[in-house]
């Protein structure tokens, strides 16, 4: 899932200050799971903004809304009238949701209410951790199912750096050294022979380094005829 954090309230308040009518739109997908931009967080943010405005004597109108998946046009369409009747959309989805609204209504302002962080997983209640950088060429079958590119601060492909103490990362002592974890996992799996095979220079062209990525599945695309038919139904 995509893990995000809400921006600090003051930053949001400054961002939206010039606009009278603000539609605050959350998302029920990833950002709801990471407690950043689901229905509850949208409502809490709107209340906090109203309280702040009351204290500071500012008049603004806020509407709290939430869609199923803000990165998909069909769900955004459901709140189109609310978007168009507002002066500003404050998206409480990840940046993908905010950009979807922006792309659908390019003459309408849509600002981000969240800082989008990473591809990660919920580890326990209230804890999310990064486990993938989307490099486009997965190698975790060689590393005990643990991604060293996202989980090592230096994205090392051939073992641990010389800075690790107590099997923790030198950059953040609360985080396990990815290569200590890989070692343990491979040992458990009886695959320690893997640690001495050299992983050569990685081809980063499948990652963002190769430019913006667009994946196309020709067999899944609609023909122009099908597209027309679908538009007619809508």
């Amino acid at each position: 899932m995509i893990v995000a954090k809400r921006k600090p309230l003051n930053e949001i308040a400054d961002m939206v200050a010039p606009y009278k009518k603000v539609a605050v739109i959350g998302c029920r997908s990833c950002v709801a799971i990471c407690l950043a931009g689901g229905e509850k967080e949208v409502k809490m943010t709107v209340s906090a903004l109203k309280v702040k405005n009351k204290k500071e004597g500012r008049r603004q109108e806020f509407e709290a809304l939430v869609v199923e998946r803000q990165c998909e046009k069909e769900f955004v369409k459901e709140v189109e009238d609310k978007i168009l009747s507002s002066d500003l959309v404050l998206s409480m989805a990840c940046s993908l949701g905010a950009q979807t609204i922006g792309d659908m209504y390019p003459d309408h302002l849509c600002f981000p209410g969240l800082n989008t962080g990473f591809f990660g997983v919920p580890e326990e209640q209230g804890v999310w951790s990064e486990k993938c950088v989307g490099c486009g060429n997965c190698i975790i079958h060689t590393t005990g199912g643990i991604c060293p590119i996202s989980r090592c601060a230096k994205s090392m492909l051939n073992g641990p750096c010389g800075g690790s103490s107590n099997r923790k990362c030198e950059v953040n002592l609360d985080i396990d050294c990815a290569w200590a974890a890989i070692y343990d996992r491979l040992k458990l799996q009886n695959r320690l022979d893997l640690i001495e095979s050299i992983t050569p220079a990685k081809d980063w062209s499948a990652s963002h380094a190769g430019g913006r990525r667009v994946y196309v599945r020709e067999d899944a695309r609609l023909t122009p005829h099908q597209k027309k038919g679908r538009e007619a139904v809508q």
């Binding site: 601060a153 230096k154 994205s155 090392m156 492909l157 051939n158 073992g159 641990p160 750096c161 010389g162 800075g163 690790s164 103490s165 107590n166 099997r167 923790k168 030198e170 950059v171 050294c177 290569w179 200590a180 070692y183 343990d184 640690i195 001495e196 050299i198 992983t199 050569p200 220079a201 990685k202 980063w204």
Partner: protein
């Protein structure tokens, strides 16, 4: 001879090598480098020029190398993967070789959050193992990592670092084995304070026959004060400083003298460890002490370079 450097000649002829470290200044002033080169000339076979160590911006290691070569002192340039991608690393290797640099130490590099540009974007296109592998192919076959074969490849003697004291310990000999397989000719270790632990690591290194494939230079740091010992014990990632050493520095009447004495004892000890082919003296911000340490440890005179 791969590069024909003085360090290569000393090591390949089976002599006990000495390297030391010069930290480039945080300025555009070449004088500290010239000063240290003049002062330490003849007291070690080659001198490492650190590459923005601990991610603090300093005069570049390649430029520093050229400055000390003007004083007829041989450099080992450190090249980290933190700040340069494969285009820049290969380009700088060609450039360094063209300028007459013959020894290169391949390092992954300290993370930028330790330095004075914490907001920097790091690169880490390679890690040190890949860097070695790429540089080795470039020097042997003139083949770049992207496949292009070039004329007049760089002539360099390649080194690596290894830290027997960082976790996971079980990985440390394997890590050296990978660096050797990737093309390392010599290896400078992290500073050794825990001799037992180092010897255990060396036992395993010898058992794997790695000491026959790579020249191991044992790292030492002469300490100026008890504070330095405590700092290294508590603050430097992946370093082990036993309590006895901290106490010895703390109880010393003259800490500097004790630091030198300790370092000399450590070198004497390391000289006797089978498979150790030299020492690497890292007198961090205390370069002035290197001649004395070298002399008292019986490392002089250094073999004459032709």
């Amino acid at each position: 001879m791969k590069a024909g450097s003085n360090l290569e000649k000393v090591l390949e002829s089976g002599k006990f090598a000495v390297t030391a470290e010069i930290g480039p200044p945080q300025s555009a002033n070449p004088e500290p480098l010239e000063h240290h080169a003049k002062m330490m000339k003849g007291f070690a076979d080659a001198f490492n020029l650190t590459d923005n160590q601990t991610a603090v911006v300093r005069l570049s290691s390649i430029a520093s190398a050229v400055i000390i070569m003007r004083e007829s002192v041989e450099p080992v340039i450190q090249m980290t993967c933190r700040d340069r991608n494969r285009i820049a690393l290969q380009s700088d290797l060609l450039g360094a070789s063209a300028l007459g640099v013959k020894n290169v130490l391949c390092l992954t590099g300290d993370h930028q959050t330790f330095g004075n540009e914490k907001g920097a974007k790091n690169v880490f296109d390679f890690d040190s193992v890949v860097e070695l592998q790429v540089f080795d192919a470039l020097r042997r076959e003139g083949r770049q990592v992207g496949g292009e074969v070039i004329k007049d490849p760089p002539k360099v003697y390649l080194g690596c670092a290894e830290n027997p004291f960082a976790t996971p310990y079980e990985f440390r000999v394997s890590r050296l084995a990978k660096k050797v397989a990737a093309g390392a000719d010599f290896c400078q270790t992290q500073a050794i304070f825990d001799m037992n632990m180092f010897e255990k690591w060396m036992d395993e290194v010898r058992a794997r026959g790695l000491d026959k494939k790579v020249h191991i230079l044992a790292g030492v740091i002469p300490m100026k004060s008890a504070g330095a010992a405590r700092y290294m014990k508590n603050k430097v990632p992946g370093m082990i400083v036993p309590n006895e050493i901290v106490d010895r520095m703390k109880n010393a009447k003259d800490a500097k003298e004790e630091g030198v004495k300790l370092c000399v004892e450590q070198i004497e000890h390391l000289k006797a460890v089978k498979g150790v082919h030299g020492v690497h003296i890292m007198a961090v911000a205390w370069e002035e002490i290197v001649p004395k340490v070298a002399e008292l440890a019986g490392l002089l005179p250094r073999p004459k370079s032709e």
